[in-house]
């Protein structure tokens, strides 16, 4: 779709204005944007050609955009206007992309529901009584509802891949270092990735082509060459070795999801793939969520100590600098964020650092070692992205110590621990709502990930899925 749009130069203006108008109309129903951007000015200065020439896109609101409000979904940044563009914004503009929205997100990207944005929850385009998932929920909703063919997200735990599952679209978290993070408001630096949503694998290939590449201003940016992802796209499964994530499969409790997943695995086998079940140590699987929780919150507490209302952000009144900071941070952060900072700070106490933070970093290495064992034998690790379709907005029923929660709902953090490429693609529908399947491949092997994703897309027929918002 992106390729066809970029070739259709004549209709670029009309296309972008239509997308903007659709975004304005759907905002009332979905609340999926924080800022809508009239594209008229950008259309006057479009560069010639480019992979995204005249293609309307949306950015998660933690992507810095020069002169355009960038809030990261937090009240404390609700007046923040960056003076520079993130590297990916520069790249996308050079390719002719037209930004029509800054999308809703969980506050500071710390959440999996998109209920914590200071502008209220974004709603699922397939059923507005349900969550989009988060933290990149607004971006997912804008792609799923057909407003834009591509939207940028970020993924620290599963913040692209879970909303992609709940919204019936492709969600890509490429290898750590593949896309520059310069100018992205951080969450947890050792786990944060920039990624994106599309409605097809072809569009996912073109998007990575435009976004990937070395950036000296991101100290973790890779020097590796960027392959021609679209040119290398090939859905031939003969000889491909696929490992089913056995622990996740066994912990599934939803019979519909189990059956759907089993059918998909059978179809991949019929196409020539060798499909086996691979089990991780159960002890490590159960430690995955606490490991994530500690590392993410400890890093976030440190990263966000600069949000104090003094140099930028919303400043509250106070009789001293300390009072200004305390008042600004108390009113500026929602309760969930403050709770997470408290946990993060607890993990960083001198007496707790070895027992908690360092321990988590050691367990992280053991988990990644297990993944390396798996991907030493197989091309891809695969599992449903979730047990169920998107939860209802008022659903708080999850038992946080159950296998269902510890394993099925959190297994995708393995892609953040390792930095390996991981992607969710639509797998099927339950109660009229979509659910996705997740695949994780070797470092910098996005080509294989897209190829297997393409085979799944051909099997399911779920390409260019668009929700009709009621």
């Amino acid at each position: 779709m992106i390729q066809e749009m970029a070739k259709d130069v004549v209709n670029a203006k009309e296309r972008c204005m239509d997308a903007y108008e659709k975004a304005v109309t759907l905002q009332e129903k979905l609340n999926d944007a924080i800022t809508l951007i009239d594209p008229s000015e950008q259309l006057e200065t479009l560069p010639e050609g480019g992979l995204f020439h005249g293609v309307p896109i949306a950015l998660k609101d933690n992507v810095n955009t020069k002169g355009i409000l960038t809030t990261a979904g937090s009240r404390i940044l609700s007046n923040y206007v960056p003076v520079y563009d993130a590297e990916i914004v520069t790249k996308l503009k050079k390719e002719g992309a037209v930004i029509i929205a800054k999308a809703s997100m969980d506050e500071l990207a710390m959440g999996g529901t998109n209920l914590t944005c200071f502008t209220g929850p974004s709603l699922n385009p397939w059923d507005t009584n349900r969550m989009t998932g988060g933290s990149s929920g607004g971006s997912a909703a804008m792609v799923a509802s057909g407003v834009v063919p591509m939207a940028i997200g970020s993924d620290t735990g599963d913040s692209i891949r879970k909303p992609a599952s709940f919204c019936g679209i492709v969600g890509v978290k490429p290898t750590y270092g593949r896309i520059s993070r310069y100018g992205i408001i951080p969450y947890a630096s050792s786990l944060d990735h920039v990624g994106y949503f599309t409605r097809s694998i072809e569009d996912a290939c073109i998007s990575l082509q435009a976004l990937a590449g070395r950036d000296d201003r991101d100290m973790t940016s890779s020097f590796k060459e960027v392959p021609d992802y679209l040119g290398l796209l090939n859905s031939d499964m003969n000889g491909k070795k696929i490992a089913i994530f056995g622990n996740v499969q066994d912990a599934l409790t939803n019979p519909e999801t189990k059956e759907m997943f089993a059918k998909l695995m059978h179809a991949l086998e019929e196409r020539g793939a060798k499909v086996d079940v691979f089990y991780f140590s159960e002890e490590l699987m159960k430690a995955m969520l606490p490991t994530y929780y500690l590392i993410a919150n400890c890093e976030a507490t440190s990263n966000h100590s600069n949000l104090d209302g003094i140099r930028f952000g919303v400043r509250e009144k106070g009789d001293s600098m300390e009072e200004i900071m305390i008042n600004s941070r108390t009113k500026g952060f929602g309760p969930l964020i403050r709770k997470r900072f408290v946990i993060g700070s607890y993990g960083l106490f001198e007496e707790n650092q070895d027992k908690l933070f360092r321990k988590a970093q050691k367990v992280r290495r053991l988990i990644v070692n297990e993944l390396n064992k798996c991907l030493g034998e197989y091309d891809c690790l695969i599992a449903p992205a979730s047990n169920d379709i998107a939860p209802l907005l008022n659903d708080t029923s999850r038992d946080q110590l159950s296998d269902g929660y510890l394993i099925v709902e959190n297994h995708m953090v393995i892609g953040n621990f390792s930095g390996y490429p991981s992607m969710t693609v639509p797998m099927g529908f339950e109660e009229g709502c979509p659910i996705g399947v997740n695949l994780t491949c070797k470092a910098f092997d996005e080509v294989t990930m897209f190829n297997i994703g393409k085979a799944i897309e051909e099997i399911t027929g779920y390409k260019d899925l668009t929700a009709e918002v009621k």
Binding site: N79, Y80, V81, V83, Y84, Y176, G177, S190, D216, R217, M219, T220, S222, E283, A287, P290, Y293, L294, T301, D308, I310, R311, F312, G313, R315, G318, D319, S320, M321, E322, E323, I324, M325, I326, R329, P335, R338, K339, F341, V342, I343, S345, E351, N352, L356, R358, K359, A360, Q361, K362, V363, R365, V368, Q400, L401, L406, F417, G419, Y420, A443
Partner: protein, 98 residues
Amino acid sequence: MSEEKNKEYFKRLANQLMFDLNDEEAEDIVKEFETLEKQLKLLDEVNTEGVEPMVYPFEDETTFLRKDEVNHVISQEDALANVKDKIEGHFILPKVVK
């Protein structure tokens, strides 16, 4: 570590982080902490003897000392563009010495 993890404990901790928690929020953390401690026990059960902490996904060098040349400069006006109260290139705060 042996200190009781009650509401007052978490309120004090929050104040060290330069924000307040109200009673309800502090109570929530007390409850959540019980779950967290159970989850952390799962972490404890993993034998990590001799394992090095994994700080970043990849350990290849991707950053080097650059030449000491000025680049990517922003103006003073830009640097202060998001400051609410400012005067002559400084941001204004209440007096520290009164």
